[in-house]
């Protein structure tokens, strides 16, 4: 397919971003990054900056949309929101994640 090896990690980050937007509604990059940090209870020590390539990727795929708005402190900020395809994608990704997790669980319990 031509996607590189970082796809797995990217894929998980993508799903997190999508879920965040689903829960929080439209949000700017900083807000999404902070939320991911909070939910993962600081276990994921990502550099916040890495969210931006991911957001670009998701935009190129047509799963999220970007619009300019005003942030809490009055500054211009870019707000991201889910597209219809993006919403459908969450379901697909969730399903496949759960399948992977279940398979792994079975492996790990078998001796």
């Amino acid at each position: 397919m031509g996607e590189d090896k970082r796809d797995v990690l990217q894929g998980t980050l993508d799903l997190m971003v999508l879920k965040t937007l689903e829960t929080m509604g439209p949000q700017h990059g900083y807000g999404i990054a902070r939320r991911i940090e909070q939910i993962s209870e600081q276990a994921l020590r990502l550099n916040q900056g890495t969210i931006y390539p991911a957001l670009l990727r998701l935009r190129q795929r047509g799963w999220i949309r970007a619009d300019w708005g005003t942030s809490e402190n009055g500054r211009r900020a870019r707000y991201y929101s889910l597209t219809k395809t993006g919403k459908a994608q969450i379901e697909k990704e969730t399903e496949s994640w759960e399948r992977v997790a279940a398979t792994m669980a079975r492996f790990l319990t078998v001796q």
């Binding site: 916040q48 900056g49 942030s71």
Partner: protein, 905 residues
């Protein structure tokens, strides 16, 4: 990629806003301002790095995707070379053929003279009732559409001069005349070239400057013979003089007169007559009496009687053309009255201003309809090619549906897949277009070669027509995109999971079935149409070839001798022909010789008054008939039987009683129920109004100028007793041996009489007839080619569709056979489907053929536009092809092993 600065700005703004939000939150937690900022930066990670990553990703995204798509597309094509070859091949043929023919047609029909603002040019013409004041003309002479009058573009030179003086409406009137073929001698070598006469203001008014030397100017057109100069065409300069600048000042002999070349026309300039080919020589009108003497006249420039000159003028934009025409019409009529005596029943000409931007456009008038027919046929071929490509793409899309679903399941976006498919289709279209370019280029040259004849070589000066090519390329692109994207759109809409299931029945497949069948049906219809057309034209050519011309054309060599009028006028000319005739008869291998003023079947017509003595011809009826001046062994040479009385004999000389031979058609027309032998008739010539001939014989009917026309009434005169011969004579030599061997001896015989007389246009009578049929033959060749192409494409289309259907339905077939169906039943099922599809296509195609047949009816010969034999044969051929194409897939279906089929995917 081009919006780089704006994108960068946006990203920077976004990142800055992110950092500020982070800093604000850190401050709220109690940090100092600068510490808050530093923490924000640390938490962010490398700002520059992020910026770079995003920028690169954005920039590369496009190029990267394109490269990946192209690579993938190329690999896919390499994996199915058959598909690629067929798709690209049919595109190439369709686009190439269409481009070639379209560009020729456009140039013949639409292209304008290569002069500035050609749209301003007006060609003068006139129209009058049948009994016109103009009796003698050289040039166009046509019946008007309603048949009640005549129209022509020829004017007398004095009338031109008078109109020019009285013209205040249009720009200066200028004149030209295409002389046709003239003898020139260059460096001792005798040649025949095409020549034009032009007036002194021609170049100035046309707005054309020579590329070398000078143009013909008013000073050259002043005194007759005063300025023996000529300008040559660019083509002639290349062919004859190797583009040497030394050509300026070179002297050549034109009709044995010394003429100096003073200029070379720019490339692409073809004179005023037409856009297709350029005459080699341009001479001032003042040279007419010397280089092209007409009949026995001293000079056409002073003749009030002969109408021969073409006139054009530029109309300034914004001009009230109706007013201009009216004013010039007055000038014309007054000029006519000043130069001619108008008899009471003769009508004066009315002036017409016609569009001159395409010159005189004669061949366009002849070729217009056939060209339109050709264009539509080629258009159909292009459609066929596109249909083929569509079918192939559909088949591929369906076959790759699983692949697409898998890709989508693995995360590829729909847009991504569609973009991939689009790239593939575009790649195909581009490759097909490039191949089509090559085909079109060579095809155009090939067709031009087919359309040329030695007398009028067709060398369209324009280059390749990119507009036409672009149109065709766009057409193929659209088809590719439509049929590439369409099914892909469908495929990516279906549920991923269901498409991955093995025996899934999706709506896509059913639709694909209908679409595929519709396309193949369409192909069959088009092929039927093209095959029928090919059949029509082939049969026309065959029928024309079978026509009995009324004489025996075998083993007859024809050539013209044109003696210079300055040396051989009047009786001297006749004596010369007699000498040549006798000399030729002594050449070994020659059986019979006869000069003739009109060689048969050469589209040449001579007509003169024919007034039977003692008969009252009804007013308004024709008093003229076609005639030929021949030698006394003419009827023997051509083996035309004399049915009554006698032919000519050596005893019919200049001084013996004037006699004539008529053909049956003339006898029937003018002397029904009587014996024409012994009757007399009157005819006239420029000098003598009272020539009376007595009919001494009746000969069989023969075709005169064309094969299609029924033999017309013709009277024959012995050339020694006939009115002056203008141009020269054609000699018909009946030989015992093949032509090539004998020509040098014939040439020697003629040159023994006068060493300066070349043999012009040596050909055989049979070759002459072939030239006559050339258009029809070209048509037959082209349409047969199209028909074959169409059959091949339809065959491939049917095969492809049936193979696909069978492979898809392997399961179903397996079940049927497991339930007891026999092989031959399966075979019949598959064949039946093909027949059904073919039948519908046939019906539509035959309907179209009937409609198109009516359009081309005038071009056909010997068969009706709904000729049942051709239609049946075409239908049979198509059914045969369809069944043939289905045979292999059908056998495969019948050979399906039920157990394997049920187990397989």
């Amino acid at each position: 990629m081009f919006r780089r600065p704006a994108l960068d700005q946006e990203l920077d703004e976004e990142l800055r806003s992110h950092l500020e939000l982070a800093a604000v939150e850190n401050q709220r937690r109690g940090m100092a301002a600068d510490e808050a900022w530093r923490k924000a930066l640390r938490d962010f990670g490398g700002v520059t790095q992020v910026r770079e990553t995003v920028r690169v990703r954005e920039g590369l995204a496009f190029a990267e995707n394109l490269r990946r798509d192209l690579g993938y597309a190329l690999r896919m094509l390499k994996m199915s070379p058959g598909f690629a070859a067929i798709a690209i091949g049919s595109l190439a043929l369709g686009i190439g053929a269409n481009t070639a023919i379209f560009s020729i047609a456009k140039q013949v029909l639409l292209d304008r003279l290569n002069v500035p603002r050609a749209g301003e040019l007006r060609l003068f013409a006139w129209r009058s009732k049948r009994q016109s004041v103009v009796h003698s003309s050289w040039g166009d002479w046509d019946r008007t559409a309603d048949g009640a009058g005549v129209t022509s573009t020829s004017f007398s030179y004095p009338v031109y001069q008078l109109m020019r003086k009285q013209n205040h409406e249009l720009a200066d009137l200028f004149a030209f005349k295409n002389l046709g073929r003239i003898n020139v001698t260059v460096d001792g070598e005798a040649q025949v070239v095409q020549g034009d006469l032009v007036s002194g203001n021609f170049y100035d008014q046309m707005g054309v400057q020579p590329q070398l030397g000078r143009a013909i100017g008013p000073a050259d057109d002043d005194k007759p013979g005063g300025s023996p100069v000529a300008v040559i065409s660019d083509g002639y300069w290349t062919r004859q003089f190797n583009r040497s600048p030394l050509v300026i000042g070179k002297t050549i002999l034109v009709n044995l007169v010394n003429v100096t070349i003073v200029g070379v026309n720019p490339r692409g300039f073809t004179g005023a007559k037409g856009t297709q080919n350029s005459p080699e020589l341009f001479l001032p009108f003042s040279m007419q009496p010397l280089v092209f003497p007409y009949s026995t006249m001293d000079s056409l420039l002073t003749s009030d009687r002969v109408w021969w000159t073409q006139i054009m003028a530029r109309a300034k934009p914004g001009l009230d053309e109706a007013k201009a025409r009216a004013a010039l019409d007055v000038a014309l009529k007054s000029a006519v009255r000043a130069t001619m005596t108008v008899k009471p029943n003769e009508s004066l000409p009315d002036l017409l201003l016609t569009d001159g931007s395409r010159g005189m456009n004669e061949s366009a008038r002849e070729m217009a309809r056939p060209l339109f027919v050709l264009i539509s046929l080629v258009g159909l071929v292009v459609l066929l090619a596109c249909a083929n490509m569509a079918n192939l793409l559909l088949a591929r899309a369906a076959a790759r549906q699983r692949e697409m679903s898998v890709r989508m399941a693995l995360g590829a976006g729909r847009a991504r897949i569609l973009r991939q498919v689009m790239t593939e289709s575009l790649l195909l279209a581009v490759l097909g277009g490039l191949a089509g370019l090559v085909v079109g280029y060579f095809g155009r040259n090939a067709i031009l070669a087919m359309l040329s004849s030695p007398a009028e070589p067709m060398t369209l000066p324009g280059g390749f027509d990119w507009g036409v090519f672009a149109f065709n390329a766009a057409l193929s692109l659209v088809t590719g995109l439509l049929f590439g994207l369409g099914p892909a759109w469908q495929a990516t809409r279906t549920q991923v999971s269901s498409a991955l299931k093995d025996s899934a029945q999706t709506t896509t497949r059913r639709r694909r079935g209908y679409a595929g069948r519709a396309i193949v049906g369409f192909q069959v219809a088009l092929s039927t149409l093209l095959v029928v057309m090919a059949g029509f034209f082939l049969r026309t050519v065959i029928n024309l070839g079978r026509i009995d011309p009324g004489f025996d054309p075998r083993n007859i060599v024809l050539f013209e001798v044109r003696p210079p009028q300055s040396q051989y006028s009047g009786a001297k000319g006749t004596a010369l022909f007699r000498q040549i005739e006798e000399r030729l008869a002594t050449v070994p291998g020659v059986m019979l010789v006869s000069p003739t003023s009109v060689p048969p079947l050469s589209h040449d017509y001579e007509s003169d008054d024919f007034k039977p003595v003692g008969k009252k011809v009804a007013a308004g009826k024709e008093e003229s008939a076609l005639n030929t001046a021949v030698g006394d062994r003419y009827f023997a040479t051509f083996r035309v039987p004399i049915l009554a009385g006698r032919g000519f004999a050596p005893t019919d000389t200049e001084t013996s009683p004037k006699v004539a031979v008529v053909n049956q058609a003339l006898a029937k027309k003018y002397f029904p129920n009587e014996n024409p032998i012994g009757k007399s008739f009157k005819t006239s010539d420029p000098k003598n109004d009272k020539l009376i001939y007595q009919i001494v014989g009746v000969c069989a009917d023969t075709r005169y100028g064309s094969l299609r026309e029924v033999p017309p009434p013709v009277y024959y005169l012995d050339y020694r007793q006939s009115p002056e011969i203008d141009w020269g004579m054609t000699f018909a030599v009946k030989t015992r041996t093949a032509r090539a061997g004998i020509t040098p001896s014939l040439r020697r015989a003629v040159q023994a009489v006068d060493p300066n007389l070349p043999l012009i246009d040596v050909r055989t009578q049979e070759e002459q007839i072939e030239v006559l049929l050339m258009n029809e033959r070209v048509f037959a060749d082209l349409t047969t080619g199209f028909g074959v192409l169409a059959l091949a494409l339809a065959c491939i289309g049917i095969y492809g569709l049936m193979a696909y259907t069978v492979s898809r339905r392997t399961n179903e077939i397996g079940i049927r056979m497991a339930l007891g169906a026999r092989s031959d039943q399966v075979l019949r099922m598959v064949l039946g489907e093909a027949v059904w599809m073919t039948a519908i296509g046939l019906a539509v195609g035959l309907g179209g053929a009937l409609a198109l047949g009516r359009v081309v009816a005038s071009q056909l010969y010997g068969l009706k536009a709904w000729d049942p034999a051709t239609l049946t044969a075409a239908a049979a051929l198509l059914i045969f092809v369809a069944l043939g194409a289905t045979w292999v897939p059908a056998r495969r279906a019948a050979g399906v092993d039920p157990s394997r089929a049920l187990r397989a995917e």
